[in-house]
């Protein structure tokens, strides 16, 4: 297995209506890294993610996953390696029961039934959703849906997890639980998000996209403290890096 697990080189993509979304994106991720992709709305985050498992194909440039370049021939290998958690769990949970949904990937991989059963139960246990296995997905709460959507991907044992806005629609406590869960994973994680506190908690490295180009790529802490960079990419310092409003107020009045 190659040391560089994900390599994107000079990636370009335009939607059929001519809107250019990605203009030469390049980066390299190594095994086990947790990387955040941040940027303004429309900066190309979601489009970039869809390239990583071949939902979209680059119009110029290359994507390499592990030892293979992404093309039609390697598509099934890539999809097995890269697990994709979509932003809206309702798009991802289409089977009548939670169990069937989590089993969907493993069954398509052609695994024997006992193995499928084992993987499904293990994936559900990992996200703490084993008790939901017989429920229909539309009856779940937002947090439960998210957990099941993640289990549905884990059951294929991917080595790379790609997530689009994993904390959207979640209440603060469920969000916290999800962050703690994601911390325990050993996968290479690529997370596109606006939740910069999550980025700070989870990702050692951050890539900032702006108008389809990488404008910064480096250690999270350095990037999230670069006020100029954050301002120019429609971002804001995470709350926990901002001064405490209560203490600051006191200090100001004392001065």
């Amino acid at each position: 297995m190659s040391h560089h697990l994900v390599e994107v080189k000079d990636l370009e993509y335009a939607y059929p209506d001519g809107t250019k979304v990605l203009r030469g994106v390049s980066f390299r991720l190594t095994h086990g890294e947790a990387v955040a992709i941040v940027g303004a709305n429309g900066a190309g985050k979601s489009t970039l993610l869809l390239q990583l498992n071949g939902c979209l194909f680059p119009q110029a440039g290359t994507v390499r996953i592990g030892d293979f370049p992404l093309n039609k021939g390697t598509l099934s290998y890539v999809r097995r390696t890269v697990g994709m958690v979509f932003q809206d769990p309702d798009d991802q949970l289409f089977m009548p029961r939670v169990y069937d949904d989590v089993a969907f990937g493993p069954l398509n991989l052609g695994l024997p039934p006992e193995e499928v059963e084992e993987r499904v139960m293990q994936a559900l246990a990992t996200v703490g959703a084993a008790h939901l296995k017989d429920r229909p997905p539309y009856r779940l709460s937002g947090g439960e849906k998210r957990a099941v959507a993640i289990a549905a991907v884990l059951s294929m044992s991917p080595s790379i997890l790609v997530m689009d806005e994993p904390t959207s629609y979640l209440d603060p406590k469920t969000r916290r639980q999800l962050i703690e869960l994601l911390k325990t994973f050993k996968h290479t994680r690529i997370i596109a998000t606006h939740d910069l506190d999550l980025v700070l908690d989870l990702c050692s490295r951050t890539i900032v996209l702006k108008e389809g180009q990488v404008v910064a790529d480096g250690p999270t802490l350095a990037i999230l403290q670069n006020q100029e960079l954050l301002d120019s990419s429609n971002l804001e310092k995470p709350l926990c890096l901002q001064g405490c409003p209560v203490c600051q107020g006191r200090k100001a009045s004392a001065d």
């Binding site: 869809l50 498992n53 939902c55 099934s76 999809r79 097995r80 697990g83 994709m84 979509f86 809206d88 309702d90 798009d91 991802q92 289409f94 089977m95 009548p96 029961r97 069937d100 089993a103 969907f104 990937g105 069954l107 398509n108 991989l109 039934p113 499928v116 059963e117 229909p136 997905p137 539309y138 009856r139 549905a152 991907v153 294929m156």
Partner: protein
């Protein structure tokens, strides 16, 4: 809006009912599906003016409601919901068919009224049998049974998806309607023109969602075939259920039991 929401909740209630654990719920879905089909065929195959022969068949829905612990009031309301369809199919019969068939004292009952009553009884029997099947099995298990019995997979998958996304779709429609209502004043904005935009918008959103779902499916190795793992086993009780009821339906179809009983009683009286 309240009505759309509550009727949706009502569909969900069928799902809740199907989670019960009664002897009826534990039967194999295939046995229940086939029995329901035999029942419906038996009911619709009766002659146009049949009423008395149909009555004994009521025992099937009644027995199942009792064993399956299903709420009769709720089922009756669902049947009434569909009743107008049957009503308008049958309501012209009394006008068209005025031959007096039965003379009850001074009142002559025309063939039209009798066939109308027959249609309504058949409608009640068949619809209640279908509703009981769903309430005691769950639509997903019914789909699974259809697949195992050799129904085309694409048809079964369509049915599954329809059922899965009907909630999501109505939710989306509800949000559109609500957004319109909140910005419409004095009836302005509620016209037909805006409604067409609304429908168009809903179609586009549906297409976009379908595309996202398809991507999600492909990301997990979908190749055009839905694979379900669910152990389905035919036990003796399933066979007994199917054969027992079917035999009874066939007997009831060939022999008019109320008439036989009547003959028996009048014979005894003589």
């Amino acid at each position: 809006m309240v009505t759309i929401e509550s009727s949706l909740l009502n569909i969900g209630y069928f799902e809740t009912l199907s989670y019960q654990r009664t002897p009826l719920h534990r039967l194999d879905p295939r046995a229940k599906l086939l029995t329901t089909v035999v029942f419906i065929i038996a009911v619709v195959s009766f002659g146009k003016y049949e009423i008395t022969g149909l009555l004994p068949l009521v025992i099937y829905p009644v027995a199942l409601i009792a064993v399956g612990n299903l709420p009769p009031g709720y089922l009756v309301r669902k049947i009434l919901l569909a009743a107008p369809f049957a009503f308008f199919i049958g309501i012209f019969n009394p006008l068209l068919d005025r031959n007096v068939l039965v003379q009850l004292g001074p009142v002559g009952l025309s063939g039209g009224w009798i066939s109308f009553a027959s249609i309504m009884i058949r409608f009640t029997l068949t619809v209640s049998a279908a509703l009981i099947l769903i309430a005691s099995t769950g639509l997903n298990a019914v789909c699974l049974a259809l697949e195992r019995l050799g129904a085309p997979t694409s048809f079964v998958v369509q049915l599954l998806f329809l059922y899965r996304y009907i909630f999501v779709l109505t939710d989306e429609a509800l949000r559109l309607v609500r957004a319109r209502a909140l910005r419409s004043f004095q009836g302005r904005g509620l016209g037909f023109k805006v409604f067409t935009y609304l429908i168009g918008q809903l179609l586009l959103r549906t297409l976009a969602r379908a595309q996202r779902i398809h991507l999600a499916m492909r990301s997990r190795g979908f190749d055009g075939k839905i694979r379900l793992v669910r152990p389905l086993e035919i036990h003796l009780k399933d066979a007994v259920f199917f054969v027992g009821w079917s035999t009874l339906f066939i007997l009831m179809r060939w022999y008019n039991i109320p008439q036989l009983l009547g003959h028996l009683l009048t014979g005894l009286a003589r």
